[in-house]
């Protein structure tokens, strides 16, 4: 295992030390060592944006803490949901009196821990509403969308929710905007190599060299097909063909596209994929309003990529174009 760690069971703690050191201008710790917050939060009267999840997905989740994005994050062990207490403390850290929008991904552990945290928070008079990202198309068939996992589409959800809150939206409005982002977003992942949790010390699944796993999840959850690893152009096409028909996206739609590497795939190759994907989207009559290509939501050192497409309307366009500042995503307003 060629990795930079000390005691592997303390990897998350050690990481948080460095993260806080490096991003002290944007982010700060809280009394709960597993809860980080934006320096700008809470703002009195502004809806707080909270998320959380297992570690190992950098920049997700703490990398999206910042200005006009996420206000507080509950930090879990690697690939393991944070505690209910961490979610609860994140709610408290983000609450400016206008309620908290907890925008997270659809995983069993997160669902359970958020549910319990929400009960605690409501006992304490903090209003919490949730949006559960379920953008990963291959994780359940059409008609069973509620079972789908949340993957890199969560970033669009945070972007929309964070901008809406910054624009002064009420909790209901922020939730509606984040839910609209999720409802209009579809993703698919392709895995080329597995990854190793340092405390485990060996890959926790296998992908045969020469093959790829289409529909793989962010923790190596099984995909829908293991096929030969073909050319980048063919991979691009098969990913686009899974994403587009599902919503469906249709001619004339404006979209935002996010192509994220899973960790170890060179960014060069993401652009190779993206060039073909963009051409395919345009052939179908879609207009790409904005694109993000890079390592936005990773799985340790997995090789592979996830494609995420969001259908835009005027509101989502305004929200996605809104100025934002964080470790994982900094953009000037348009």
């Amino acid at each position: 295992m060629q990795r930079f760690v000390n005691d592997p069971s303390m990897a998350v703690e050690d990481m948080l030390v460095g993260f806080l050191k490096s991003h002290g201008d944007l982010v700060e710790g809280t009394e709960n060592p597993r809860v980080l917050k934006s320096r700008t939060a809470p703002v009195k009267g502004r809806v707080g944006i909270v998320t959380g999840g297992g570690s190992g997905h950098k920049p997700a989740f703490i990398g999206y803490l910042g200005r006009n994005l996420v206000d507080a994050v509950a930090v879990g062990e690697i690939f393991s949901s944070p505690t209910a207490k961490a979610f609860y403390d994140a709610f408290a850290a983000a609450d400016g009196g206008a309620g908290v929008a907890c925008l997270y991904g659809n995983y069993a552990g997160d669902n359970m821990n958020v549910k319990m945290a929400r009960e605690l928070a409501e006992e304490d008079g903090i209003r919490v509403m949730t949006v559960v990202a379920n953008d990963d198309v291959p994780s359940a068939p059409k008609g069973e969308e509620k079972k789908r996992r949340g993957v890199a589409g969560e970033i669009f959800m945070w972007k929309a929710g964070g901008a809406k809150a910054a624009l002064g939206g009420s909790l209901e409005e922020v939730i509606a905007a984040a839910q609209k982002a999720v409802d209009n977003t579809r993703s698919v992942g392709v895995g080329l190599t597995p990854c190793t949790i340092p405390a485990v010390g060996k890959p926790n699944f296998a992908i045969e060299p020469g093959t790829m796993e289409v529909g793989i999840g962010h923790h190596g959850e099984p995909g829908i097909a293991v096929t030969d690893l073909t050319s980048a152009d063919e991979v691009a096409k098969s990913m686009v063909d899974i994403v587009l028909p599902d919503l469906p996206f249709k001619e004339g739609d404006e979209v935002a596209v996010l192509l994220s590497g899973l960790g170890a795939t060179p960014v060069m190759e993401l652009y190779i994929l993206y060039g073909r994907m963009a051409a395919l989207l345009e052939e179908k009559g879609l207009t790409i309003h904005r694109s993000y290509v890079g390592n936005y939501f990773t799985s340790l050192e997995m090789m592979g990529a996830t494609l995420t497409v969001m259908k835009l309307d005027d509101e989502l366009k305004e929200l996605i174009d809104f100025e934002a500042e964080s470790m994982g995503l900094t953009q000037f307003g348009r």
């Binding site: 879990g76 949901s81 505690t83 209910a84 069993a108 552990g109 359970m112 549910k115 485990v200 959850e221």
Partner: protein
């Protein structure tokens, strides 16, 4: 006796802590075959924390269960935190304000624990989870207790059913959790959660039987 005093019952929790500690490596090893190999570590992290948080001199059954539940819920995370947290929370709730715990109270606790876990995690019997130990164990307890009215006998029935349930997971294909990734390849090994659940039920049954004997 056919019931035990709440005031004496903290030992049930202390014994579970010991059992999980002893089986830490074993549980992780089982999880390693088809999961990510951390089940023993996850469980022991929560249970061992509980050892120093309970005042064993004064704690009763309710308090000890409540403390264990809170630690799991609040400090462990993952799926096991909320699932076992809910398990022991339902037991603590069922015991609350009771001076003595009898067979029907115990049945109610286990029953609500099982159904809350089903609701929380969305798994069903046969999915190769801890429910495959828990649900048959609860049913066996209830059937025996209804038939005989004997708490201790019902606990013995529970133990046998939990073990049978754990063994039944060996031939199941995982449908939830990490192991579900393996499909058919998840067959042939025990489920880690079902194994820890069986260990816990066994330990609880033995402890309670001791308490029933003592009085």
């Amino acid at each position: 006796m056919n019931s035990f005093a709440n005031r004496d019952g903290a030992v049930v929790v202390r014994e579970m802590i010991r059992v999980i500690g002893e089986n830490r490596a074993y549980l992780s090893e089982i999880d390693g075959a088809i999961g990510d190999g951390d089940h023993g570590v996850n469980m022991d992290k929560g249970f061992s924390l509980c050892l120093s948080r309970v005042d064993w001199e004064t704690a009763d059954f309710t308090t000890a269960m409540k403390t264990l539940s809170r630690i799991l819920l609040m400090e462990i995370g993952g799926s096991m935190g909320p699932i076992y947290g809910t398990f022991f929370d339902q037991i603590a709730k069922g015991a609350k304000d009771r001076e003595r715990i009898d067979g029907s109270a115990f049945s109610a606790m286990l029953g609500s624990a099982a159904s809350e876990i089903e609701k929380l995690g969305g798994a069903v019997r046969g999915d190769k989870t801890l429910l495959d130990s828990l649900l048959p164990a609860v049913e066996a307890f209830d059937a025996s207790f209804e038939e005989t009215g004997d708490f201790a006998k019902a606990l013995t029935a529970l133990q046998a059913a939990a073990e049978e349930g754990r063994e039944s997971t060996r031939d199941m294909v995982a449908r939830v959790g990490r192991a579900s990734r393996l499909g058919e390849r998840s067959r042939g090994v025990l489920d880690a959660g079902a194994t820890s659940c069986c260990l816990l039920l066994n330990s609880m049954a033995e402890s309670v039987k001791e308490l029933l004997k003592e009085e």
